[in-house]
Amino acid sequence: MSAATYTLRTVPDGPVTVVSATGEVDATNATAFSAHVTDLTGGRPAVLDLGDLLYLDSFGFATLRRLIAQHPVAIVLPAQHPLHKAVTLTRLPHHHTLREACTAARDEPTAD
């Protein structure tokens, strides 16, 4: 048995780093995923693009909620994405377009 797997890809986009995630995030790897994202963004304004993510469970929601509360990270997830219903249901703050998310991330105070 093994943990779920994901990959992260960063695309610097001006002052905001865009991190795209693929794969699955669940109870087995949510903590690692969150730490990984923080490493990549280094406390700078960033956008976490979940548009290519295949699976995210309630542990993932909880972890992401903590992540965006503590770091200037904005989540982007298109409204028609399969995950969108669950994300809305669990009230995870997110944006529908990359542009909105970038603006939001830029406007957030940088974490110390």
Partner: protein, 1275 residues
């Protein structure tokens, strides 16, 4: 004649009775309609129908509407029959042609039928109009040409019903009015009041009663004919005869002029009234409806009315008794006068002795505060002296020992001088005082005249709040002097004017500066004026003013200079003014609110001195507010609720008793204790005060300490006393509610039933949601049961909570104290999580601890409302009373449950289903026979084998019931489990069992079914030792019994011959069922029938999770009245996938999830459900598995969670079954993010079913298959 009828009419007339004969004998040849044989067919048909009908029918034929009618219609016609036959409508029914003519014309013209319900038609019969009611329809008679040439009318007379109804209404009205009348006078007034001239059958009503001297005097008459009927009954009677004993019809014509527009009431019925309590008799005169004959019904109605009046009179108080009481009162009055005379003398001496030293002390006192107190004392001592003097004087005049010493004076000058002492007072009171006193010589007793003038003036000031008071002495005219004291005050009501001068009479309800007064002032004035040969009259208009007119004889000759001028200011005069000064002065503001947080005492007294005194006494201990009368007190109380009210009884406007009544009637104030003060001493007075609702009664005089003690006592006892009274008030209601509740609880068999019963009864306070928290003996956790409106997600989240969980209900249980929560958002932050979770359903709640016999808290009950609300004390009391009742019922249920659990625990322990195998998902159920000891010889067994793709299963049946069989069963089952470890092949295992059974007493004839399921090779190997065949149902819904591998039952004593194994295919998605014969056998039925029934029932369950299969089969296979024998049932479904099913036994580890998810995703992919639905199913499934892993596997990681997913045409149903009861804190799991899992499960599934039993928890999530939307491609 009948030959001119034709055959069908000939038959009809033969059947038509009188009208048939008349119709046949009528000379139609001379009639415009001609011979019936020549009539159009539709007329002939209608005539035949009418004549043979027993219902009143009339035909209107031709343009003239000639009448043809049947026997039943004769009654409608009255004396118009028989002339009406063949008559033209308008001539026959001339009297009602106005209403019916247009209706008939309408039918003739348009053909549209009419319908009239209870239509009033005034028909003239025997020369008199008669009010009758009919329900009828006019329908067209249509000629072949389509033209309407007649009207067909079916009619029914409803006069009897209509009259009956309206007379009954009158009787009800009369009864209602007479009810509660206490005197003959009231009864008469009520009776005549019931007649307002609108009821046609009682157009007038009068009552004549025998007077003391004269018989038959008019005692009451209804308004419409007031003043018109004779005063004496004899005037109504036809002759000089004695009063009639029987109802007598009398002519009222002479008294009631006939109105121009109708007959008018001309006749009446005189009915005797039976003797009243005082022996008097009387008569009731009822006017008679001119449009109704005085028939039996009408007479009966009148008799009933008279009986009602008689009854009321009989109940009325006895006049004789009243008279005797009056005599007694007169004697008492005389005694009182004597007493007053004596007592007043006794008073004068000490008062005088009091006033002297007081005056000295005031003069000597330097401290203004002290002087103020002394002056208060002096003012009131003076007032007392005045009252005593007035009483004395009054007593003298009453006993006619008054001895005026008249001297000749200038009455004008004397009056002006006396009145001028009121100048300052009036100025302060804001009233003008006008003295208009002409010179008028008179002979008066100066002191007596002073009393007269001062009394009148003091009265005037008392009732005047603005404007002016005029004192006028007119010059002598015709030997008399007119003295008038008039004011612009509140005036005196007309009904009080006549009694104004009576002793002790005090007009109530008038607005006044003070309610003080003895009620003797005006009586005394009149006596004194009369002693001087004068007279006094009053005229008054409410809210305009009052004038007192005194006439005195003038002295002859002019007033001389030597005539005594008015004397110097007497102390008596001072006393009047001083007292009145107290009404207008108010040096203390009407409300003293210090806001010190001390209890607030509201003092209500109209006397400024008393108010000041009470305030001074109370202010040392409490905050004080003041009010001058009841009305102001109520206003003050509504602004700020005092803790105690101290009130005087006699006050203007709203007095003390009314104040108490008003306080008790106001739900916000009703609990405020009231202490009443009054000068009216005596038990009776106290009784009145307490009766009105006062809490204590303090008669004047009282000491300051006394007052403080009483108020203190009220402050402490107030709440307690109020509770008691309220308890009494609510006791009946609560007792009834409790009785209902108790009955409902008696039939409840489970905690949810209990809660349902509570919500349905008044003790539930209309709450939509009830929660029961029960402390679980083993874990100490609190298990919550819900009833009412609550969504499943919250139910699941708060299914089991830790004893120390931050929930109000847990707090109630741990503290043992109830919680009343009017608004959950106001709870402390500790409860933030639950408050947020339940915000939509719970905004207010009450929670009470439940205790057992030893007073240990065993749980708590909560009632919850979705909106904030307050709770009245009586509501809480009701719940408080319900809680122990509920607690007892809960104890009973728990005891029953415990008993059942103890009985089955042995079996359960024995039959613990091992779910460690990954080869199949397993469901099992055991049900002991209904009438035995709840333990028995049936078993089921699952044994994981060394090969993880295999599992051994077995079901066995030891002969007999109860503990002996159970013991044998336990041993054999253990042996079977052990045997599988050596060699799992069926023949081998059964062989081992056979050998073992031979050594176990009681194991004879035990039957066993045994099978090894191999999920890899899709095979089942099996054998049965005398046992019913296993049942195999494949996903295509075909069922077959596995009939190979037959062995003899165990320990039969026969020489054992090795048996063989059976083998069959067990494809993925199939279901294997092992069971004992109790499931299929029914008395009087062959086993084959039972087996067929089982096969049929199981094929319907191929896409049900194994756990549900067991539960459903147990239910559907049960004969009426339940299973007679023990039943054990084991359902096995091998793991694996088919296009429509996915079955897995998932290890209880989180890290196994990704792999499972990949498999499920692949399986779902083949179903083409679309990304979103696929994801939703995956997510909900994994969340459910996650919960099961966390809560459901009893901390044994080797146990597995069953996953069964079925794809049907419309739905995908995913079931996760675990062997646990989720005993750990489900609410606390929100901290571990699993709480979000519940939100996801409920939010993304179409429907969620949760079944929880002793065997485990089963969650089924249904997803509806939708048309696949345009797929979103995440790449």
């Amino acid at each position: 004649m009948s030959d001119g009828l034709g055959p069908e009419l000939a038959t009809a007339v033969a059947l038509g009775g009188e009208m048939g004969t008349r119709f046949a004998e009528f000379d139609w040849s001379a009639h415009p309609l001609g011979a019936p044989s020549e009539w159009p067919a539709q007329w002939r048909d209608a005539t035949a129908t009418a004549l043979t009908s027993r219902f009143p029918i009339v035909l209107w034929l031709g343009p003239e509407l000639f009448l043809v009618y049947n026997n039943a219609y004769i009654q409608v016609l009255g004396d118009k029959h028989p002339a009406a036959l063949g008559g033209a409508g308008e001539r026959v029914w001339w009297d009602i042609w106005d209403p019916i003519g247009p209706m008939l014309a309408g039918v003739m013209e348009t053909g549209e039928a009419t319908w009239s319900d209870d239509l009033l038609l005034t028909i003239v019969s025997e020369g008199r109009p008669e009010e009758r009611y009919f329900t009828f329809t006019y329908g067209p008679i249509i000629a072949g040409s389509g033209v309407v040439d007649g009207v067909f009318c079916v009619v029914t007379e409803t006069t009897g019903r209509v009259l009956g109804e309206r007379r009954l209404r009158m009787l009800t009205r009369m009864g209602g009015r007479l009810f509660r009348t206490r005197t003959a006078q009231e009864a008469v007034a009520a009776a005549v009041g019931a007649c307002d001239g609108t009821h046609p059958d009682v157009p007038l009503l009068a009552v004549y009663l025998d007077g003391a001297e004269e018989p038959g005097v008019l005692a009451g008459v209804c308004e419409p004919v007031r003043g018109r009927l004779p005063e004496r009954l004899t005037a109504l009677l036809p002759g000089p005869a004695a009063q009639p004993q029987r109802p007598l019809e009398v002519d009222l014509g002479p008294w009631l002029p006939r109105p121009a527009d109708g007959p008018g009431v001309q006749r009446g019925l005189l009915l005797g009234l039976t003797e009243a309590a005082d022996g008097r008799r009387g008569h009731l005169l009822l006017g008679l409806n001119p449009r109704r004959p005085l028939d039996e019904q009408y007479r009966g109605f009148c008799r009933l009315l008279a009986d009602q009046v008689s009854a009321a009179l009989a109940n009325a108080g006895s006049f004789e008794l009243e008279r005797r009481r009056a005599d007694a009162l007169a004697q008492l009055d005389q005694a009182k006068t004597m007493f007053l005379t004596n007592v007043s003398h006794e008073f004068r001496t000490p008062l005088t002795l009091l006033l002297g030293p007081l005056q000295d002390a005031i003069t000597a006192e330097e401290d203004p505060k002290q002087r103020d107190r002394l002056e208060t004392a002096q003012r009131n001592a003076t007032r007392l002296l005045r009252l005593v003097d007035a009483l004395l004087q009054f007593a003298r005049t009453e006993s006619e020992r008054a001895d005026p010493r008249p001297v000749r004076v200038d009455l004008g000058a004397l009056t002006a001088q006396i009145a001028s002492s009121f100048t300052e007072l009036c100025r302060r009171a804001g009233i003008g005082l006008v003295l208009d006193c002409a010179s008028a010589p008179a002979e008066v007793d100066v002191q007596m005249w002073e009393t007269v003038v001062l009394n009148l003036l003091s009265n005037a000031v008392k009732f005047t709040f603005g404007g002016r008071i005029v004192v006028k002495v007119a010059p002598p005219r015709d030997g008399t002097i007119a003295v008038t004291v008039s004011d612009t005050g509140t005036g005196i009501a007309a009904e009080d004017l006549g009694r104004l001068f009576e002793r002790f009479y005090r007009a109530d309800n008038s607005r006044a500066r003070s309610a003080e007064g003895s009620g003797i002032g005006l009586s005394l004035v009149r006596s004194l004026v009369e002693l001087h040969g004068g007279g006094i009259e009053v005229d008054s208009v409410v809210n305009v003013g009052t004038s007192m007119h005194i006439t005195l004889p003038a002295a002859r000759g002019p007033a001389s200079a030597g005539e005594r001028p008015a004397g110097d200011t007497s102390p008596q005069e001072n006393a009047y003014v001083t007292e009145a000064m107290g009404w207008v002065e108010d040096t203390i503001p009407s409300s003293v609110t210090r806001g010190t947080g001390r209890p607030l005492v509201l003092i209500v007294d109209d006397n400024a001195d008393m108010r000041r005194h009470l305030a001074q006494v109370c202010a040392a201990h409490w905050d004080v507010a003041l009010a001058v009368d009841g009305a102001e007190a109520l206003r003050a109380m509504r602004r700020r609720r005092p803790d105690v009210v101290v009130t005087d009884v006699m006050m203007p406007a709203v007095d003390g008793l009314e104040l108490v009544t008003a306080i008790r009637a106001d739900s916000a104030l009703s609990s405020v204790p009231v202490v009443m003060l009054s000068a009216r001493a005596g038990v009776e007075a106290a009784g009145t005060g307490l009766g009105a609702g006062a809490d204590d009664y303090l008669p004047k005089p009282f000491s300051s300490a006394d007052l403080v003690n009483r108020v203190s006592a009220r402050l402490t006892a107030g709440e307690r006393e109020h509770e008691r009274r309220r308890d009494e008030h609510d006791r009946t209601r609560r007792a009834q509610a409790m009785a209902e509740f108790g009955a409902a609880l008696g039939s409840a068999t489970s905690p949810p039933h209990l809660l349902d019963a509570l919500l349905a009864c008044p003790a539930g306070l209309g709450a939509p949601l009830a929660v029961l928290g029960v402390v679980e003996a083993d874990s100490g956790n609190i298990r919550l049961t819900f009833a009412g409106e609550l969504d499943a997600e919250v139910r699941e989240r708060y299914h089991v909570v830790a004893a120390r969980a931050p929930l109000p209900i847990a707090r109630v249980i741990s503290s043992g104290r109830p919680m009343v929560i009017p608004e959950t958002r106001d709870l402390d932050a500790d409860f933030a999580a639950v408050t947020r979770d339940t915000d939509a359903v719970t905004r207010a709640a009450v929670m009470y601890p439940l205790r057992d016999r030893t007073d240990t808290v065993t749980g708590a009950l909560a009632l919850s409302w979705p909106a904030p609300r307050g709770f009245a004390a009586d509501e809480l009391a009701l719940v408080e009373q319900a809680v122990p009742v509920l607690g007892r019922a809960l104890e009973r249920i728990h005891a029953a449950e415990r008993e059942r659990r103890i009985a089955t625990s042995f079996q359960e322990h024995q039959l613990d289903l091992d779910r460690r195998s990954g080869a199949a998902v397993l469901g099992a159920v055991y049900q002991p026979a209904a009438e035995t000891m709840r333990v028995g010889g049936d078993w089921y067994l699952a044994a994981p084998l060394r090969d993880p793709r295999q599992v051994a299963v077995s079901v066995g049946d030891v002969v007999g019931h109860g503990l002996p069989a159970a013991t044998v069963m336990g041993r054999l089952r253990a042996a079977a489990a052990a045997a599988t470890l050596t060699d799992s092949r069926p023949a081998f295992v059964l062989d081992v069992l056979r050998h073992y059974a031979a050594s176990v007493p009681g194991a004879e004839c035990t039957t066993v079914a045994y099978a090894v399921v191999d999920s890899a090779s899709h095979r089942v190997d099996y054998a049965c030792a005398g046992h019913p065949y296993p049942l195999l149902v494949t996903e295509d819904r075909t069922a077959r019994y596995l009939t190979d591998g037959r062995h003899l039952p165990l320990a039969t004593g026969f020489c054992a011959r090795p048996g063989t194994d059976g083998r069959d295919r067990l494809p993925p998605g199939a279901l294997l069922l092992l069971y004992t014969d109790g499931l299929v056998e029914r008395p009087g039925e062959s086993l084959e029938v039972g087996l067929a029934r089982l096969a049929a029932a199981t094929t319907r369950l191929v896409h049900q999770p194994v756990d549900a299969v067991c539960a459903r089969l147990l239910r559907t296979m049960a004969p009426p009245g339940g299973h007679r024998d023990d039943v054990a049932l084991l359902a096995v479904r091998p793991v694996g996938t088919t296009p429509t099913s996915f079955v897995a036994a998932h290890p209880a580890r989180q890290d196994a999830l990704p792999a499972l998810r990949a498999r499920v995703r692949a399986w779902l992919g083949a179903l083409h459900l679309g990304d979103t639905l696929t994801h939703d199913i995956l997510l909900t499934l994994c969340e459910a598995i996650g919960n099961a892993v966390e809560h459901g596997v009893r901390a044994d990681p080797r146990q597995r969670v069953s996953v069964e997913i079925f794809a049907d045409e419309d739905t995908i149903s995913a079931t996760v079954t675990d062997p646990g009861r989720w005993d750990t804190d489900t609410a606390a799991s929100r901290r571990a993010a699993r709480g979000t899992g519940l939100t996801v499960i409920h939010g993304l599934s179409e429907r969620v079913e949760i079944a929880r039993s002793i065997r485990g928890t089963r969650v089924t999530m249904h997803h509806r298959r939708r048309p696949v939307p345009t797929a979103h491609d995440p790449s």
